[in-house]
């Protein structure tokens, strides 16, 4: 479990984090800057995603096609995404091609061409992507759950909305990028096979002169109680449910997460056992911890044929509340065992370590070590979990259903 994490702050405010994993051949890095959907103007919802897409259509000394070709040539696996508060770009590759890969990534952030004649193509792609989720009710259910629970601007989807996408202009993208793609509040993390000192030199060379003003802080997120039904001609009813919990930065986060683990981690978890194994009500059932700034929630999903949807919802809620009745020693030991194994196995993936370092930094303002997480896990007991659950009971529920008929749910209204 030995672990070394380097940290350095550039003069311009950019935080750089590095975790060497010399036993790997690969290296992965993540660059996150504060350009999320919550920062979009209210009449331009979808701008953050379109800006990210346009920024990748040519940058630095590469044209749009050359960017893709260069990354394919180097064998780089890449992804980019927009969340409520951040835009993030991640790449992973064999260690030997780090330097050029990094140069391409930086060029997207610092020198995007923003080709004006490609804006319409970006817009059409965004509209198609938005339309596509209409045929994926499970995904749509979560988009609508976040929209209802976190409200505007925090509940916006990175897919945007039709009117917002249609209104975005070329200058909107350029300005949004200029305002948010800047070093203050941004973090660059790297994990895998690399030399820290060499990497810092590379970073200084490409990002040392990066400048900009930190965007203003956004307000607090307040969860909203709601019950929404979206009629859909489907065999299944999709149920997405949320209730209050503690966020990632809360001192008792691991207790909250532990309870979610008892409910949903693994095939012996309570939701899987009660809803699927004993009653055969669903194929898919899950719960997960979700943090949006100060606001912690548990998000649940179940999909079931509509005739059994009410029973599924009732059993799901009853199972969540069954935590009040106590936690078995076996449940706790399985939870710990899974957590320990996951901590060991994360050492096999540069990608997961690099993204976790960046995530920890933007939420906590520091990194966490495996040792620290392990200690938190080992300290969990049936007593402190129940005490936590009583102190932070499931409340302020939000329910979204998609299917033929609405369901009854009195707690939500």
């Amino acid at each position: 479990m030995q672990q070394l994490v380097y940290q350095h702050t550039l003069a311009n405010g950019l935080t750089v984090l590095g975790e060497p994993m010399p036993w790997l051949e690969s290296v992965a890095f993540t660059l996150m800057f504060p350009g999320g959907t919550a920062r979009e103007p209210a009449d331009r919802i979808g701008l953050a995603g379109m800006t990210l897409e346009l920024s990748q259509r040519g940058s630095g000394r590469w044209s749009s096609r050359e960017v893709v070709e260069q990354l394919d040539f180097l064998g780089v696996d890449r992804s980019s995404s927009v969340s409520s508060f951040y835009t993030s770009i991640s790449m992973s590759a064999m260690a030997s091609v780090l330097e050029t890969t990094f140069e391409v990534a930086v060029s997207m952030v610092r020198e995007p061409h923003f080709p004006e004649d490609e804006l319409e193509e970006v817009r059409q792609s965004a509209l198609l992507e938005l339309a596509a989720i209409e045929d994926d009710p499970a995904q749509k259910c979560f988009v609508e759950l976040k929209r209802s629970r976190f409200a505007d601007p925090f509940g916006r989807s990175s897919l945007g909305i039709t009117s917002g996408i249609e209104s975005v202009s070329h200058s909107d993208c350029v300005e949004f990028h200029q305002r948010h793609a800047q070093p203050q509040g941004a973090v660059l993390s790297i994990a895998g096979r690399f030399d820290w000192q060499e990497f810092l030199k590379l970073v200084e060379r490409h990002l040392g002169s990066w400048s900009g003003i930190s965007p203003k802080e956004l307000g607090h997120v307040e969860p909203h109680v709601a019950s929404v039904h979206i009629p859909h001609d489907s065999q299944q009813t999709h149920i997405a449910l949320a209730y209050d919990s503690v966020p990632y930065q809360h001192p008792e986060y691991y207790r909250g997460r532990g309870i979610v683990g008892i409910l949903s981690d693994g095939m012996s978890s309570r939701l899987f056992t009660e809803v699927r194994e004993k009653r055969g009500l669903v194929y898919a059932i899950s719960a997960s911890s979700h943090s949006l700034k100060n606001c912690g929630s548990v998000l649940c999903y179940a999909g079931t044929t509509s005739g059994r949807a009410q029973e599924t919802l009732d059993v799901t809620i009853e199972t969540v509340r069954s935590i009040y009745g106590g936690i078995e020693p076996g449940e706790l030991s399985r939870l710990k065992s899974r957590a320990r194994t996951a901590l060991v196995m994360e050492q096999e993936s540069s990608v997961s370590r690099s993204s976790q370092l960046a995530y920890d930094w933007v939420i906590l303002g520091r990194t966490t070590s495996r040792q620290e997480v392990l200690q938190e896990i080992e300290q969990l007991s049936a007593e402190n979990l129940i005490e936590h659950f009583s102190k932070h009971p499931p409340k302020r529920w939000t329910l979204v259903t998609i299917g033929p008929e609405p369901l009854e749910f009195h707690d939500a209204v």
């Binding site: 036993w23 180097l74 064998g75 209409e134 693994g266 065992s337 196995m345 096999e348």
Partner: protein, 408 residues
């Protein structure tokens, strides 16, 4: 990295790619059975049986199985395809023995009727879930139409009717016919103690009896056809086209995969630049499916129903344009780099190696390192790919489209 292999007296094969420096090990039983080995009256039994293997044995209840899987801290699951059923776990090396004990015991399930009836509801939910997803329905229909009376036409999940009618007796018969030790392979990857694995497996499976087990192999006879399906709640149009391609016994599969990458990878391919990058389609891709006796070269398009015909015409013009736009050296190089880097990056995790090593052994009785697999792609020549590209012009096609209404 070391490859080890042993065949027990009862025919059970044990193979491992041992990497003493790995943090974990992955362990799985690969069963050479899937939907193509079913008769129509039990369509879906392989997949249903996969669920039932988690429902307990003479030594363990269903809850015991689930608890032990979690006790071991494992990341575990199973899947069923047309040709194989795989049960796997990733655990810390010190848990090799209990993981092996559990997985091995699971291969001899109780198949209790009460569990069978409850699990049937779960399977019917899974079928309903996919029925609500129009591209999945189009995919199942494409398989049925492409393969016709060939066993690969059978749906992996079965149908609502076939699953509803299935009995636990029929499942028991299928299990005893297909889960004979000589039709199974135990595969391990990562930090594995191979000698202990062999010894412990031997003692746990010595009472397993081998059986005559086979598979009907023949090339499908495909007739070109066009099918239009309507799924009124759909908002997008989804079009698939299947044409014959190489199977996994055929060395030309590497050429076919490289060609699919050049023409229709989800980024940087010809279809990507002409359709997706231009905002004309949500997705436009080429892919290959490989089976023991045959294969499929597939095209997939999704997007606005009103633009679908124009987009489809554009795809056809690209795929049939081998004469005026031959594959370039640069395209070939980029495709090879992309494929090979993907193989090498994935190979860092034992959990990924398990499927490569196990899949290759089950299908071809062959072990190759990740570097050796990459070499097959590196060896593909420009001439090979261009020939494969040219041959697409005369392909036989099964075309299935689904959307909110019949396209004009």
């Amino acid at each position: 990295m070391q490859f080890k292999q042993v065949t027990l007296d009862n025919g059970l094969e044990i193979i491992a790619e041992v990497n003493p420096n790995a943090f974990s090990q992955s362990l799985g039983y690969f069963v050479k059975t899937g939907s193509r080995d079913e008769t129509l009256d039990v369509a879906g039994v392989s997949h249903f049986l996969e669920h039932m293997l988690f429902k307990g044995t003479p030594r363990r209840t269903s809850a015991d199985v689930n608890r032990e899987l979690d006790d071991l801290g494992s990341q575990s699951n199973a899947f069923t395809s047309e040709e194989q059923t795989v049960y796997y776990m990733s655990v810390l090396p010190e848990n090799q023995l209990p993981a092996l004990d559990l997985l091995t015991d699971m291969m001899r399930p109780s198949l209790r009727d009460e569990d069978f009836q409850t699990e049937k509801q779960v399977i019917l939910e899974e079928i309903a879930m996919y029925d609500d997803q129009p591209p999945y329905g189009a995919m199942e229909r494409s398989m049925e139409e492409f393969f016709g009376d060939h066993p690969l036409a059978t749906r992996v999940l079965g149908t609502k009717d076939s699953v509803s009618a299935l009995t636990s007796e029929a499942m028991r018969e299928y299990h005893s016919a297909r889960y004979a030790p000589n039709n199974l392979c135990l595969v391990a990857a990562g930090a594995v103690d191979f000698d202990a694995l062999v010894m412990e497996t031997q003692s746990r499976t010595k009472h397993w009896k081998p059986a005559q087990v086979g598979r009907q192999l023949r090339r499908p006879v495909t007739i070109s056809k066009q099918i239009q399906m309507v799924h009124p709640p759909a908002t997008q149009q989804y079009t698939l086209e299947f044409s014959p391609g190489p199977g996994y016994m055929d060395q030309s599969r590497y050429i076919s995969r490289v060609l699919a990458t050049i023409l229709g990878d989800d980024s940087g391919s010809r279809l990507f630049w002409e359709l997706v990058d231009k905002g004309l389609a949500d997705a436009a891709v080429c892919y290959t499916y490989e089976f023991q006796d045959c294969g499929v070269f597939g095209l997939y398009l999704s997007g606005d129903p009103e633009q679908q015909q124009d987009n489809w015409d554009l795809i056809q013009s690209i795929v049939n344009d081998s004469a005026s736009a031959p594959v370039s050296e640069r395209e070939l190089e980029l495709a090879k780099n992309k494929i090979c880097a993907g193989i090498l990056l994935a190979a860092e995790r034992p959990s990924n190696r398990l499927f490569s090593v196990g899949g290759s052994w089950l299908s071809r009785h062959q072990y190759e390192t990740a570097a050796q697999v990459s070499q097959h792609y590196r060896s593909v020549s420009l001439d090979d790919v261009q020939k494969a590209f040219v041959s697409l012009v005369d392909r036989t096609t099964v075309h299935v489209s689904v959307g909110p209404e019949i396209a004009s």
